[in-house]
Symmetry: C2
Subunit: 789 residues, 2 copies
């Protein structure tokens, strides 16, 4: 897991090397003769060009056996499942439903606590740090102040970096791409593990408190998903947290639902935007959605909103240290009712176009920086920490030094009297105007943006009455834009929302200064629209961003303008590159299945892309052969063929999963039969369906655990009870595009290909996620894409 | 179409009669020998009970051939399509994308105009009517006033009723069930026709202005969908509105997308709730959803919001007659920031539970009333109009007489000075307190709810400062609840949102009067929560209702309470019956495909439910046989089998659609071949893919239009170019539940069943929407459902 940020190419390289060995090994085995030869396209009599798949066999087999596994959302309808379902009483069904809702409630509850704890931590640590520095500056000890500021930031940064580098490398970064990939059916190692959860929570607090230009939103989404996963897994065996009664949820389908709830709760908690959270989960995170899920995520975020509200009420009396109202961001913008007309709309369109351009440039730069960092991060953990330290010092210097270079402004007359702008008097913490080396009744406007928490800076930018010099806004915009770009990718949990909102809001205020004469919209609204345009330009969501921003600013009357600017910036940015999360996912080599098939897939048929040797079992199979095949391959599904004398001719019985075979072999010891006879009823009596429930990643029965004697190897076992008799199938001449749609829509892991003509083996191949990846298909048919785009 | 509201049973009866004849005819035909015999379950060797399907053949064939057709969302990948796709230039693809967005824009634009026009009409007509009546009452001419009120209402009601009964019966009712059914793939006759659109717009204006307890929301959704359909159809040939360049959209998939946009625009326009509209389309209307659609619906509603805003701005100067701010409802509730605690939450929970109970009772009563009305409406058009008249007079009497019986209250001191409560002075139109036969400085609180437009009544209920007597609220609640129930189902366009909100808000205020001492929440908020609980109890949406209510009231701080009350009322109501729209859809006999398969389907396999005789064609088929089969059956898809000498053994070539066959036969005249030879290239040269594009309902080539000579009947035609070579298939032993999931998720119309064993015909049956209907399955296997609920 040290190669968290490594680039695509490197990733493939490693696997290719590994798998060339493995494939060579397979080739040497005489058992290969068992494999039904699968040639692509060879048996089609139409005019398509014949392509011989076997040349690139090695690379393909390699890529099939990566550490990244596919999730399986198909219902395994084997005899055990059917028996279990038949015997399930009404009480048990009721229990399941109640449990599912209870889990949704718990996810909301725990995520609310984490969100609150996160804010409490950040506000207190960052507040204390700023208080200390400000006090030193009031005594004109500027060098000491600088030292304390940089030093405390550095210590916090090292804390975050060490946690990430040494305990859970998967916790670095935003986490939204990982959650999105998981919900698409990709299970990479430990992305939702308890250690990741731990580091994500504390690393995020330390990182944000350290003054990095990072947010807590992405990490909150990841945290919510981890909590959901932990609950859905029935706890963690490693940390002795397990609950027996959660066995019903030991399948990928229920986990997917829970993790969707967790992702929604994360966004809802970070922004206090319950509806926005639901929409985020729907629009960005989830790949499969159904109406019932909308309701359940909504319930989760409703619980979260209530709990969060109660906790904030509890803290209102000042019981929570420096934690104030500002913690859980809710920017009451409430500008004057905007009465805009055509020229204003033109200004907004202009804002959206430029915002889209800058947003897609941001994505481009983040991508480049990530590639660079991945080279550094690969060298070892200590390099990761050093990188974190360098960025921390750099950020601290910018935050401290730039305001020093800026000139002081006199306070606006209206604020001279109250303490908002006065230089003396206590902590300059929550002030809008920063007393930064300025004479009395003067303030430093750049300091009020840089020398504060990110949340406060955003609030200052959104308030219409605040005034900033053009130069201040320009310096701040450039600084935040660039620092934001170079910060993402270091080994700390780092959300992208806040840097983008900061840069976007300052861009919006800049635009307000320049375009002010042409419009009646106020500067605060410009800040909001600028932030929206940047968000649209980088993240490419529309409805969810719109609702999140509305919930943040509590002013519904801005809705049409926000919609307009988001649509324009997304459209513009889409011309250049993909959304930032898709980009990161792609960079990490996650085999994400797009909702739509690629156009060139229409010219191919399903059997064209099948390449790996096919291993099949008989309905009643020799234990030795099963063991051999399991050792030889790392496939996860094997077709089961009924052969004479158990049927008239070879015919497809179904599909059996590796994990089920392992469980069967482990617990059937002594019950194997000497002759090949049907012994299904014995097995049915010994096992219950939930014995075969899917354990969490890395927790199932291992091949090495099996202890089967030489004698047993020669015996037989009946696979019928654990064979899924209803696997999804396509005919070999089905177009690849339509097979891809089937695979994606139903969330499959294996798709069987049946022959078109009689007299051949009943199965000609298996399609898996890998076979639909453009890299694989275009590797086999380099010219498929030559025409039409 | 006179049987708009007829009951299920009657519906089936008619079809059974019709189809018994048809089936008998088929049976007499020697051609039946062509049909491959399909027996259910007979060839399975497992222990399931053998069931003979043939007994209920007649009823099934009958039900298969109803006027309701299935839509087909599958891409027909035949040679012509592939050729077309290959030859499509970049410019054409670009043109398609631009057109699609332009259509989304136009849908938003037109729906905005209709929404505005609707409000303009209602406000002016109803305003004039109320003005006239009030003026007469100020002169103490109460009988004349009563006459004018009842008379004008009656005239408007007759107008709406005549439009509905004589021009477009499909326009009666809400329209949301129809749109929902359409988006599920059910195409009933003329539900989205131009005449329906016309009646829906004007009927809705007349109906709402006539003082019925109906809303304009459902009709607006239907209107939006009709507009989208009209644009997507490439206009209407009947009314000479066609656009050639819209041919790209002549398929069910693109139409579905457009109509989803239309439904979203409808809600958005009715409530001025653009985000709520998108969510409504997602949560309630659409059966299939994808991320791109979210974006497009969002664009549509954004356009609508901007246009609507501009139109309202235009009217602000009083240029639009009596149209005021009140037209497009936006209730600025803005109660004091609710600082609620545990007891308040308990009160809200209580409110939700009772609201859920009353909501489901509402559904139950509506269902009963609809059954009763359907008997009356069936008798003829004139009966429909008479029913409308009776309800109109009844409603008018209640609106006028009940306030007369109520006693006058003194005006609150604060309002004595301004004209809000004064009895004299001009139109009592927009006043909050109605001068209803009261002495000066007194007002009639029941009149301020009943003797006004529905929108104003809701506003009055939501304003916290208004006070109502307990008796007033009780009388109003009971009256509106009952009148609402008996109004739905008469032959006018009638939305359900407004009656439910009215009843719910008065219920909430009633609860506020009773529970006031236990809570700090104000009465206006109670009204809102009561409305939410009723909506949740009848319509069973959550997220979209929540957002719509937020957008209506413009106060985000109520969000958690709203979420709570919606979740509770939905949960409670779900224990008793289905949502009101599902109920109406079921009553109308729409074969709606649920997202989940029924549990008992797990015990059946795909081939169990296949029943209709199967007709197949050869790849190169005799024209006479095609004509014969098309005449004999009303099936819409036929498997094509390649037979020797064109292949070694009979093998599946694909699926050909009836509509494509008709086009082929019509335009191939003179190009048939005497011998059975491959003539695909000739056909490819003569046709373009869009010649086969799906025309709107009732506009394709008819069988009667074909004019084929005796000689041609003996000739052959090559079906390969129009055969979809990639139909979706399942193996005959696939469990019915999983086949149903496949069918539903991919939006299919035909699903082919292939045999499991060799040596049999390559196709054993076709599954269609009908085969998955619980009525059909339970008809074949009455005991399937006996266990597990």
């Amino acid at each position: 897991m040290d190669r968290e940020h490594e680039s695509d190419e490197r990733y493939l390289e490693i696997y290719e090397e590994k798998e060339k060995e493995k494939a060579a090994e397979i080739m040497r085995e005489p058992l290969l003769a068992l494999a039904v030869g699968v040639g692509g396209g060879g048996m089609n009599d139409d005019s398509r060009s014949m392509v011989n798949n076997t040349t690139s066999q090695l690379a393909i087999v390699g890529a099939k056996v990566s550490a990244i596994q596919s999730l399986d959302y198909e219902i395994v309808e084997n005899d055990l499942f059917k028996q279990d379902w038949r015997s399930r009483t009404r009480v048990e069904i009721y229990q399941y439903v109640v449990l599912k809702w209870t889990l949704a409630l718990l996810i909301g509850l725990f995520t609310a606590f984490v969100a609150f704890f996160n804010n409490l931590g950040v506000e207190n640590i960052a507040g204390f740090k700023l208080l200390l520095t400000t006090n030193l500056m009031l005594k004109h000890k500027y060098y000491e102040a600088f030292g304390v500021f940089v030093g405390s930031n550095l210590i916090l940064a090292i804390g975050a970096g060490v946690l990430c580098a040494y305990i859970a490398p998967a916790a670095a970064g935003s986490g939204i791409p990982e959650v999105k990939a998981f919900l698409n059916g990709i299970d990479a190692h430990s992305i939702l593990a308890p250690s990741t959860l731990f580091v994500k929570i504390f690393g995020s607090i330390l990182g944000v408190a350290a003054g990095f230009v990072v947010g807590k939103e992405g990490p909150m989404v990841h945290t919510g998903a981890c909590i959901a996963n932990l609950l859905g897994q029935g706890g963690s065996r490693k940390y002795k947290l397990t609950w027996k009664w959660l066995r019903y949820f030991k399948n990928d389908r229920d986990r997917r639902d829970l993790i969707t709830c967790g992702a929604a709760a994360g966004v809802a908690g970070a922004f206090r935007a319950p509806v926005g959270g639901v929409l985020f989960a729907l629009e960005e995170a989830a790949s499969w959605w159904r109406s019932a899920l909308l309701w359940r995520t909504f319930f989760t975020t409703a619980v979260l909103a209530m709990v969060l509200r109660a906790l904030i009420q509890f803290c209102e009396g000042g019981k929570c240290g420096l934690f104030g109202k500002g913690g859980l961001i809710m920017f009451d913008v409430n500008s004057a009712k905007p009465a805009y007309s055509i020229p204003d709309l033109l200004v907004v369109i202009f804002l959206g176009v430029i915002g889209g351009l800058l947003g897609s440039l941001y994505n481009y730069l983040v991508d480049k920086v990530l590639h660079t960092y991945s080279i550094i991060n690969e060298r070892g953990r200590i390099f990761k920490v050093v990188l974190v330290m360098i960025i921390s010092v750099m950020t601290s210097c910018i935050r401290f030094a730039l305001p020093m270079l800026s000139k002081c402004l006199p306070c606006p007359v209206a604020t001279v009297d109250d303490d908002k702008c006065s230089a003396g008097a206590g902590a300059g913490l929550s002030l809008h105007y920063k007393d930064f080396r300025c004479p009395p009744n003067h303030y430093n406007d750049l300091a009020s943006l840089l020398f504060t928490t990110n949340d406060n800076a955003i609030r200052n930018l959104f308030i219409a009455d605040n005034t900033f010099q053009l130069s201040t806004l320009l310096v701040f915009f450039v600084a935040i834009y660039l620092v934001g770009v170079i910060t993402y990718g270091i080994a700390i949990p780092s959300g992208l929302f806040i840097p983008v909102i900061l840069a976007g809001a300052s861009y919006g205020r800049l635009a307000a200064s320049l375009l002010g004469p042409f419009t009646v919209l106020d500067a605060g609204l410009f800040g909001l629209l600028g932030a929206a345009s940047f968000l649209g330009g980088t993240m490419r969501m529309t409805v969810s961003l719109c609702v999140i921003l509305l919930e943040l600013t509590n002013d519904l009357l801005m809705l049409p303008l926000l919609m307009l600017v988001l649509l324009i910036s997304k459209t513009v940015a889409d011309c250049f590159n993909k959304g930032v999360y898709d980009q990161i996912m792609h960079m990490k080599g996650m085999p994400y299945l797009e909702a739509h098939a690629q156009p060139y897939m229409r010219h191919l048929v399903a059997s064209d892309v099948v390449s790996a040797p096919l291993f099949t079992f008989s309905g009643i199979e020799k234990v030795g052969k099963i063991m051999h095949v399991l050792k030889m391959t790392r496939h996860h599904g094997f077709p089961v063929i009924d052969e004479p004398p158990f049927s008239d001719a070879p015919e497809l019985c179904g599909l059996v999963l590796r994990s089920h075979l392992l469980v069967l072999l482990k617990h059937s010891k002594g019950f194997f039969t000497r002759e090949g006879v049907k012994s299904g009823s014995t097995i049915m009596a010994r096992f219950k369906a939930h014995d075969f429930a899917k354990a969490g990643l890395g927790r199932g029965v291992k091949l090495e655990e099996l202890d089967i004697s030489e004698e047993e190897m020669e015996m037989y076992v009946d696979l019928h009870p654990i064979t899924n008799t209803s696997p999804y199938t396509v005919v070999e001449t089905m177009s690849l595009a339509k097979a891809a749609v089937l695979f994606r829509e139903l969330g499959l892991r294996h798709l069987l290909i049946v022959p078109k003509t009689n007299g051949r083996p009943p199965i000609v191949g298996i399609l898996t996620r890998h076979d639909f990846m453009p890299e694989h298909v275009l590797g086999l048919f380099p010219h498929a894409n030559s025409h039409n785009k």
